[in-house]
């Protein structure tokens, strides 16, 4: 029987899952995903994590516990430090394997290769190959797995840039109606914008209101360079860099009528990045901004009221 590798449906799942899937499939492993985020996963995560942790990390722990209960052979929790030069992920990603090990008990083996393109590109490759060799020692199979992962990631990115949200792309590229009278940017970390339980179905709600959505993933990579030009110093977080870049790009182009920022309560990088974006938008005073801060206490009704008020305001501005 094939070895089962558990992948939590949280955090970077939304960014890299197709690549991970292709990689492990080619190596002959079977992938088990955790269930979609639900009340019980949330509760379990909140119980396991330290109270200071942000909700995405708590959810991640909930998903890990779900996989443990499913009885997978191994868990895939890579330590993703950086995927480009001079930019890092949030410190919680850097210590994620240890956080999981210390907070969740009774875990199977954790596969945690270190991905650090900025400082250790060679080591990163070695770690990935070593990981692959655990499933299949034949070098040509490993090469094929890497190629498959690259290919899957490129295809996924292309699908996203064509206007799919990551959730739709992961569901097989089925696209919801994207016509709308007003265009609103929904910017936030990929796992905040796309976890429907976490954000109370934000994207679907906006679509119901006939709003056309723009997310970070839909923008071309060149757009992100925009943020650097506004600042003395580029953001050293990959997500922060993308958010700032996307926000500044849209502000320059003036191609959206409103901006919704989605952040997790207590998110370190976002506390500064969202502040900068809000200030830039306020200075130009042409596009309204709504900042949604979410945590485990978010009530759906309150969120809907705020969204409706925001969209109504945008409509009125258009009408005038």
């Amino acid at each position: 029987m094939a070895v089962t590798v558990g992948i939590p449906r949280a955090l970077l799942y939304y960014q890299y899952y197709p690549a991970w899937e292709a990689f492990f499939r080619t190596l002959g492993a079977e992938i088990v995903l955790s269930a979609e985020t639900s009340k019980s996963i949330l509760n379990q995560g909140v119980r396991l994590a330290v109270e200071e942790a942000c909700l995405p990390v708590k959810l991640f722990l909930g998903h890990v516990a779900d996989l443990r209960d499913k009885g997978v052979d191994m868990l895939f929790i890579p330590r993703i430090v950086s995927v480009e030069a001079k930019k890092y992920f949030c410190p919680k990603f850097l210590g994620l394997p240890e956080i999981v090990r210390c907070c969740v008990s009774g875990l199977p083996e954790i596969l945690s290769p270190e991905i650090n393109i900025a400082k250790k590109p060679v080591r990163t490759r070695v770690e990935i190959c070593r990981l692959a060799a655990r499933f299949d020692r034949r070098p040509w199979v490993i090469d094929r797995a890497l190629a498959a992962a690259n290919e899957a990631h490129a295809a996924y990115k292309k699908l996203l840039q064509s206007g799919c949200t990551p959730q739709e792309a992961l569901d097989g590229g089925r696209q919801a109606c994207r016509e709308g009278k007003i265009r609103v940017a929904v910017l936030g970390h990929v796992y905040n914008v796309n976890d429907n339980y976490f954000n109370c179905n934000l994207l679907a709600k906006l679509r119901e209101m006939e709003v056309e959505i723009v997310t970070v993933e839909m923008l071309p990579a060149e757009a992100f360079a925009c943020g650097g030009k506004w600042l003395e110093k580029e953001s050293f977080w990959s997500f922060g860099h993308e958010l700032l870049g996307a926000g500044c790009f849209l502000l320059q182009e003036k191609s959206v009528q409103g901006l919704i920022l989605v952040a997790a309560f207590g998110c370190g990088p976002d506390s500064l990045i969202c502040e900068l974006l809000a200030r830039y938008y306020k200075r130009s005073s042409s596009i309204p901004v709504l900042l949604l801060t979410l945590d485990e206490h978010s009530g759906e009704a309150g969120l809907v009221t705020r969204l409706e008020a925001f969209i109504d305001m945008l409509r009125r501005r258009e009408a005038v």
Partner: protein
């Protein structure tokens, strides 16, 4: 002529003020941190920014009001938020309508020119000799301040009358502040240590030893950590602070710019629990806890600003360290909402527990 200011950072501000003055600059020290500083910082800073950012911002606003026009700030290259403070604070102050220049001192990212430009802006007027003398005095003073502080912690736990150590320490600090040359620094340090030695001591006290770990700013700035060292000291606890700025500068400025490894033993101590650097001081907090446990300390107090990401990683792993190394710990996040009474109650409860634990241990040995 520029009027230069800087953020407060415990007693380090004394040494830094001396350095700037020694470079021939007109220094406008930020007014001491008060409730008003915090209120100003909290009012204008992002809600979820960490506490140090808010306090520094309050310092800047008060200093700019007092006439400063140049801010000297430290920076970094991530992934801790601290490296991005300067950028955000600059935008906030610009929106508030202040006219100023901000010089962020940070490691060169492959380009040496910005570093030289900033150095030139700061010591344009003085000769190289004068700059080196100022740096020498600064370094001596930083070390002297740290030495005096460490000694004050030992003395305070054993003082016969509450408050005498803090008084002697404050006198010592003002002596060191006035010192202008390396020779004077050594002389004032001797005098200050003599002042501490004169504090009447009670040698019969049962002294607990507690290590203080956590985020650097929160440990170094007494206003931010609600004077935790003084509170514990007056409960008869000998506190050892894990971080001293002179060690930090030695490791991060001198050694790392020469590509020499520093702080290896802390990293090694943390390795079984956290293999990778997590930004800020997260891994060091764990390593230092391990070291305190092995040095026979009774407990560890972990202090972090609310929402501090690197320290949250450390906080998640601390229970495991505590269990395996057998050392009790208390982890306290602090911010502008922290109440002093609740804080003291928690410290008292922790100290009581440690006393009981020690008595139990003594009993089982005898």
């Amino acid at each position: 002529m520029r009027k230069v200011t800087y953020p407060h950072l415990g007693t380090f501000s004394l040494a830094f003020e001396g350095l700037l003055a020694g470079l021939g600059l007109d220094v406008v020290p930020p007014p001491p941190i008060t409730k008003k500083t915090i209120d100003l910082g909290v009012l204008h800073a992002p809600e979820f920014a960490c506490f140090p950012l808010k306090i520094c911002l309050g310092n800047f606003i008060e200093a700019l009001e007092a006439g400063a026009d140049t801010i000297v700030m430290a920076g970094g290259t991530g992934p801790c938020r601290f490296g991005f403070y300067g950028v955000v604070q600059r935008e906030i102050l610009l929106d508030l309508g202040y006219n100023f220049e901000m010089l962020v001192l940070e490691p060169p990212q492959g380009q040496i020119k910005p570093v030289l430009d900033k150095a030139k802006a700061l010591c344009g007027k003085c000769s190289i000799g004068q700059a080196l003398r100022a740096l020498h005095t600064f370094w001596r003073k930083t070390k002297a301040l740290d030495c005096l502080h460490a000694q004050s912690l030992v003395v305070r736990a054993r003082e016969a009358r509450q408050g005498t150590t803090s008084k002697a320490y404050a006198q010592g600090l003002s002596l060191l502040k006035a010192a202008r040359t390396p020779g004077e620094v050594q002389k004032s340090l001797r005098e200050a240590l003599a002042l501490l030695a004169e504090v009447p001591q009670d040698h019969k006290k049962d002294i607990l030893k507690i290590g203080l770990v956590g985020e650097v700013y929160m440990l170094l700035e007494p206003y931010a950590n609600l004077q935790v060292e003084e509170i514990l000291g007056e409960m008869g606890v000998e506190v050892k602070r894990a971080v001293y700025l002179s060690d930090w500068i030695k490791e991060h400025v001198f050694l790392s710019s020469l590509y020499l490894p520093g702080g290896r033993s802390v990293k090694k101590a943390a390795a079984p629990y956290l293999e990778h650097f997590v930004g800020g001081h997260g891994r060091e907090s764990l390593g230092e806890t391990v070291r305190f446990a092995r040095e026979g300390f009774d407990g560890v107090i972990h202090i972090l600003p609310f929402t501090c990401t690197p320290e949250i990683v450390a906080q998640s792993i601390l229970p495991e360290v505590s269990r395996r190394e057998g050392i009790p710990y208390l982890s306290i996040p602090l911010d502008e909402q922290s109440g002093e009474a609740g804080f003291i109650t928690r410290l008292e409860a922790f100290v009581d527990l440690l006393h009981q634990r020690r008595r139990r241990k003594d009993k089982s040995i005898s």
